[in-house]
């Protein structure tokens, strides 16, 4: 099994998934490293035969996200050798963009945070990462029926939040957690 190739093909997707779950770029990089190190450690027991390895990898990533400290302990030395991220660039333009992204992410994650953890996991796998029910079930190691019921609970909860938040003036039918106003005020501070 070519693990370098596996990394090339899927590191980007695992990273995006981790950013969405953690809202933090540096943590997301650690999640990527830990996920692939765990994949390597578990390769003989768990490597799927044929088909896309994506559910398997996102399942490992989900476990890493559930218990970062345990995974980090297991691979402590490897993490110490992780290449340092470059420091934040010093020109204002990129900083504003980055803060803008961060505040949006924070607002979306706040909305996501209103779901229970099991619901968050299936929501992000199925809705944001595009796994179908069977793949999400494989990733999480639960029956398909469980994925379906968690997802439908997540949907009901989100609907209720939207109903509760909907004001006569906007009514966009979308949970935005006020992210636009947050982003704007931060941008203005930096101008």
């Amino acid at each position: 099994m070519a693990f370098g190739l596996l990394f090339d093909a899927y590191a980007g997707i695992v990273y995006r998934h981790a950013v969405q779950r953690t809202g933090d770029w540096a943590t997301a990089e650690e999640v990527v490293s830990l996920t692939f190190l765990e994949a390597w450690r578990l390769r003989e027991r768990l490597l799927p035969e044929g088909g896309s390895p994506l559910p398997w990898l996102l399942g490992i990533a989900t476990n890493v996200l559930r218990n970062m400290s345990r995974a980090a302990r297991r691979h402590r030395e490897a993490l110490q050798r992780l290449p340092a991220r470059p420091s934040v660039p010093d020109f204002a333009g990129e900083l504003v963009d980055r803060i803008h992204d961060e505040s949006r992410l924070a607002a979306v994650r706040q909305a996501l945070g209103r779901l229970r953890r099991h619901e968050q996991e299936v929501f992000v796998l199925c809705v944001w990462s595009g796994l179908d029910y069977a793949a999400a079930a494989e990733a999480l190691g639960v029956p398909v029926g469980t994925v379906r019921s968690r997802l439908s609970r997540a949907r009901d909860r989100l609907r209720r939040f939207v109903e509760a938040e909907r004001e006569p003036a906007q009514g966009s039918g979308q949970l935005n957690g006020g992210r636009n106003s947050v982003a704007r005020s931060i941008q203005e501070k930096h101008r």
């Binding site: 070519a2 370098g4 990273y15 390597w40 992780l82 290449p83 809705v127 944001w128 439908s152 939207v162």
Partner: protein
Amino acid sequence: MNQDIEEMARLLPAPATTDLTAERHRRLREHFMQEITQPHTATRAGSRAAAGRRRSRPMRALAAGIVAVGLAAAGTMLALDSAPETRPAPILVVQQGDSGVVRGLLDRIALAAGVRPAVTVGTGQFLYIKSNVSFMVIEAGAAAKVRLQAVHPREIWLAQDPKRSGLLKENGKTTTLEPGGPTNEQLVGALPADPAALLAKAYADTKGQGNGPDQEAFVHIGDLLFESLPSPQVSAALYRAAALVPGVVGIDDAVDAIGRHGVAIARTDEKTGVRSEWIFDPATYAYLGQRSYTVRDVDGIPAGTVTGITAVMERAVVDRAGRTQ
């Protein structure tokens, strides 16, 4: 099921996030591969020191062989999962490269490059490159199966102002490239027109990086030639510098992504077993594109398996990202 998913995507859309940059992908991959192949290493410090100097350019991909090839695939993987427009990777007969022809061939290429009209790019502008590309996609399992994407258009706008974002359009997906990349002026504006000096600089600028000094120097020179806009004099000198890198060979007949035949300059990355070719028109010596393939069995992938192939269709200087003129 899809209705439910669509409804939920409307209720709480995925936040737009910045993708893992080519640079960070490479660094994290290097780290991962070192951890699983050699539990303890002493090379870390050196490559970490070099990190600050490293450029990240998405097109670096192909030249870097498998590493980069997968990178390009990563961005499109989800789309491909739903609409797998792939074909089994073709397997070539690996030609014996000829190191004896390198100097003469690169000299002719340099002469042609030296008399092309100079094109300049201003600070607020973008270097636009349109190409047709096809990269490797891995279907993993007990035995990795390699497939190639269908040849498809790829357009990239490289910002010449470090505060502005570039743009990449590929497979119906538009990606904003992080600002802060080096400008053309910084990359090639102050380069000497002397091949030996250029070669020394290529080694110095890539010291401690990647899969060995010669390979890194070769890839670096390719980056400068094909992802920026050097003056005709500097282009010519860069080609002559490439001729001085050990391990570079000439290939009689290579084919780009749209079937154009040409002659190629190539080098094999000994660590990955992947040879990268720069392909040129055999009559005009104009740059056509690149091709990469394994030259030996790599992790069960047979020698000659094509891992990426491109054809440059257009290079231009434009005023705005997303515009083509």
